[in-house]
Symmetry: C2
Subunit: 598 residues, 2 copies
């Protein structure tokens, strides 16, 4: 189906918004009145610009406070409407959105509402315009879609139909099944928005917290199915008021929006991009660094061995068990200090995974990074992390290690060692986009969002995982762009004996993050431990958590550049990430800021 | 009365929080458990640090889910409590906060709650601790202060009292009058917080949006009066969970907090700082600039004349009617481009105004900025703007212009010319502090907060004014610290003929901000104008607004450094600032960014 986006969903000037919508592949736009008023382009110039960009103007919005008014006030509304219909002719827009009245003068009289809407539609018809009437969730007397449709139906005017908006319908908890009784040709327009499930005043919720379908808690796809069954064949149009998107660059937001509609159409059975091929594990994490020594010292102390070296590039493979870390000191990679730049995702179908990613607008990276490299399917995540779809010892698929030459150093035994999870800090205005990307493009499942108190502001954290926990990525965002803590990333390594792993690390000269004794005193108040157990945790700085399934023990190395490592031991099916301990860990990291070893 | 603050209200490590509280003049602190757990200091070290800083530890908080539990769970709670009471002995804290249960296992049985609280109080008494029991607004069975008091009263234990929290009481709309029936000695503690009046889930509201008394919408002073009538004589303690304060520097936040308590005590009749002496007008606005030519060209085109020059410093007085602008090119002022650095507030009692400001913790500036200067009373606002309390031709008071020498150039006639308002952009984390400062220190009245859509994010704007409009300051904050638009400041000049003023400015070569024709087309749809009126506005870029009282016409100069000027004409008692037009103005300023003159 055709896709459209309201200009209010994107930041910038009207021309910036139109350009971004076009580049992201939208077919049309809804022009929000204030965007036009603030534009130096005349309506004719806007029309021409849209035509150049391949965009239709699907809706002009909104008109407010038109129906169920005292006659004198309605006459003023008709006067305004005449101006707007003339403007729409100049713009080349043939549908206008009319929101249900919020005026204190509006009366609770459906017959009057229908009559006045009919007179408005007469005027619209004279100008070649159709009126799409929508119930605002906070409309004074008309606030549900079925009520609005009842008024439209009783008006019985060919130039009057209804506009459905998923936010207004789902925020009120209305059952969208009733949409199916509306004849499709009387649904003049469909606006789609999702929102997080918040218990707050619906007007504030609508104006500040809407998001793109798939980013919130509404069943937008379910609503869409009802609209399709009703016979609607107009555009799928996004109308999202969101404080963060208002501050973000229009280009990436428009791509995020289009990706949302693509996954929505897939869910609703309207489109079939290449099927998801979720990854089954983490093949490798790749660090780039201007100076390998500090980070390889940590890896060595953790028991990793340098088992292989890339044939053509300064990239070493460090390995322990199934945990693999690439250390890249290539000249192009030497900027920005030590950071996690790429993740190898173990994939049952690398080409299929890449095909899906491309269909869902993930930027595809060159398959060969250097002439001699084996081809590797890769895309960029919204935060710039490179994601490789690759196979390790998988029959019938090339092994990503083909470009590596063994050093002869044996990987240390330790079957339990693998990457438990990766924690990636997101640019603060791309958090919702990142969650949608990992869900839609990679087929991971988002878990609950968690707030964590850092000493200098709240952090928000959300894991995206496979159902079996083979891949776990924790997306984190700082409260403000100035929070430099928020830029830390970490690699959590699973072990079946965190105490032994921590002791070995310390014996090899690796400093563990010191955890305050007050924390362990509190553990003693909250839990009962075997003799000596708590003293061991205290000695090594091991943190402890428990959920309904099992226990979690974890500790941290010091930080090198933007990277630190976590050692974790999950027992009994513990599902979390020790979020309750995160404030203590963050405070400890602030306390040793600058402490990098030794 | 003694003042206290919960460590959770301030950012940073525990020692940073304690230092900030002490420097701001607090007598004590509530220690929030997580702050202690994350601190490398032992409880004994924290105790010693507090003693060194002159702080008592008034409360340890919180214990949760203690009462009305199945016996086995209550036994575990007692076990935890024993650990915490021992910890409190090490800390030297004698009162613990116990919040009403939110546990799904808690039962609705007041007798059981009273019995278990009594057993907890027995244990507490053994450790020299008192239990202050508080109803959380979202407590499972006990959620109102009178219910909590009923349980405490029926327990009848000397070591068990109640803790009152203004947020939990006022957020539920409870009538605080009932507090007066509680014997004062059974109110073990009083926590104070305000909050903006939001319609949202009370838990989220409490955890993210609390603010200091006087910054929100609750009648905290009214509640305090009831508590005092009950006979409470413990500390006034602030417990504020606020996402912005979490990210702000602890030092200024603690001063803001103490200022809030000082004004609260004044309102409640507990303290009498020097009475407010609200300013009656703007004596001058002072611009500092590395290069006077661009800004004086604007002033000249606006009809200002250079009427006087400072005797000892490179400061010129430019004047038209009663609008006065100082242009300072002194060497110390040459950094940061052209900006508004100081405001002269016409004061009926400069010494009294300065005394009040000092009593309310405003930083006092040196009375003489140079040896030859006449003394001037001045303080710094939270954003660093210098505020001078001064008199112009006021019998019995020295005139601030005594240091200036007339140039002989006559000020142009134009009795209506004066500063209508000043718009000052605030650091984004100091908005609430700035409002409280202008209200408490200067005696101005805050008006409604308004959201304005800039093309690159929402701005929040709030005017603080005298009742007669003699002084109007509009405080504005950007949505994010990276928004450079937010750094613009402006001086709005009142005239009785904005059309003539705009024409004169343009004829003198001053470029007016161009306003899109679409805006004026919309005006035609919304209002009826006399013949030719709208064409004049269109020609000059004049914007128009109307409220219940009158009309507002205004237009803008181009921007020099961070400063632009607005010409405004208020008729018929219009009270606003043209907020409805602000999105168009902001978009136009973005469109001409870099356009600095004609």
């Amino acid at each position: 189906m055709r896709t459209s986006i309201a200009t209010v969903s994107l930041s910038g000037s009207l021309t910036e918004k139109l350009t971004a919508a076009s580049l992201a592949g939208f077919d049309g736009v809804e022009i929000f009145e204030n965007d036009l008023l603030a534009s130096p382009l005349t309506p004719e110039e806007v029309r021409a610009r849209c035509a150049d960009l391949g965009l239709t103007i699907d809706l002009y919005q909104p008109m407010r406070d038109v129906e169920a008014l005292p006659e004198e006030e309605f006459a003023r509304a008709l006067r305004r409407a005449r101006h707007k219909f003339e403007l729409m002719r100049r713009l080349g827009a043939d549908t206008v959105l009319v929101c249900s009245s919020v005026s204190p003068h509006a009366v609770d009289d459906d017959a009057l509402a229908a009559e006045q809407l009919s007179r408005l539609a007469d005027l619209a018809e004279d100008h070649g315009v159709r009126v799409a009437y929508e119930a605002l969730a906070w409309g004074r007397h008309i606030s549900t879609y079925d009520h609005a449709w009842h008024v439209v139906e009783s008006a019985g005017h060919p130039a009057l139909g209804t506009c459905l908006d998923s936010f207004h319908i789902l925020s009120r908890g209305s059952d969208p099944k009733g949409i199916e009784v509306i004849p499709g040709e009387k649904i003049f327009f469909l606006q789609l928005a999702d929102a997080p499930l918040l218990a707050m005043d619906v007007l504030q919720w609508s104006r500040h917290y809407r998001c793109f379908p798939g980013q919130g808690g509404f069943d937008v796809a379910g609503l869409l199915r009802h609209v399709l069954r009703a016979g609607y064949d107009g555009p799928l149009s996004l109308e999202v008021f969101n404080d963060v998107f208002r501050q973000s660059e229009a280009g990436p937001t428009a791509v995020d929006a289009q990706r949302s509609l693509l996954t929505l159409q897939e869910t609703a059975g309207l489109a079939a991009p290449p099927a998801p091929a979720p990854p089954t594990g983490v093949a490798f994490a790749e660090l780039v660094t201007p100076d390998a020594a500090p980070v390889t010292a940590v890896l060595g102390a953790l028991g990793f061995a340098r088992t292989a070296r890339h044939r053509g590039k300064p990239v070493d493979l460090w390995q322990r068990g199934d945990a693999r870390v690439l250390v890249n000191t290539g000249p192009a990679e030497r900027r920005d200090g030590t950071r996690l730049a790429a993740v190898g995702l173990e994939s049952p179908d690398p080409a299929g995974a890449a095909g899906r990613a491309e269909a869902l607008l993930a930027p595809v990276l060159p398959r060969r990074r250097a002439p001699g490299d084996a081809p590797l399917e890769a895309v960029a995540a919204p935060d710039g992390t490179e994601l490789f779809f690759c196979a390790t010892e998988r029959p019938g698929l090339p092994d990503w290690r083909a470009d590596f030459e063994d050093t002869g150093a044996p990987a240390e035994a330790g079957a339990a060692w693998r990457v438990d999870h990766l924690s990636l800090t997101q640019p603060w205005h791309q958090f919702d986009e990142a969650v949608l990307f990992h869900r839609g493009v990679l087929g991971l499942r988002p878990q609950e969002s968690v707030d964590v108190a850092d000493p200098y502001g709240l952090l928000r954290s959300r894991a995206v995982t496979t159902d079996d926990g083979g891949v776990r990525i924790v997306l984190t965002v700082g409260a403000a762009p100035t929070d430099d803590t928020a830029h830390a990333q970490h690699i959590a390594l699973a072990t079946d004996d965190v105490v032994a792993a921590a002791r070995r690390f310390r014996a090899a000269g690796g400093p563990l993050l010191p955890i305050p004794g007050n924390y362990h005193d509190d553990l003693a108040a909250r839990f009962e431990f075997a003799d000596g157990e708590l003293e061991t945790y205290r000695e090594l700085g091991i943190l402890y958590d428990r959920d309904a399934h099992g226990t979690f023990r974890h500790c941290y190395t010091h930080t090198v550049g933007r990277i630190f490592f976590e050692l974790v031991q999950r027992d009994g099916g513990y599902r979390g990430y020790g979020a309750a301990n995160a404030p203590v860990r963050l405070a400890a990291q602030h306390a040793v800021r600058g402490f990098t070893g030794g």
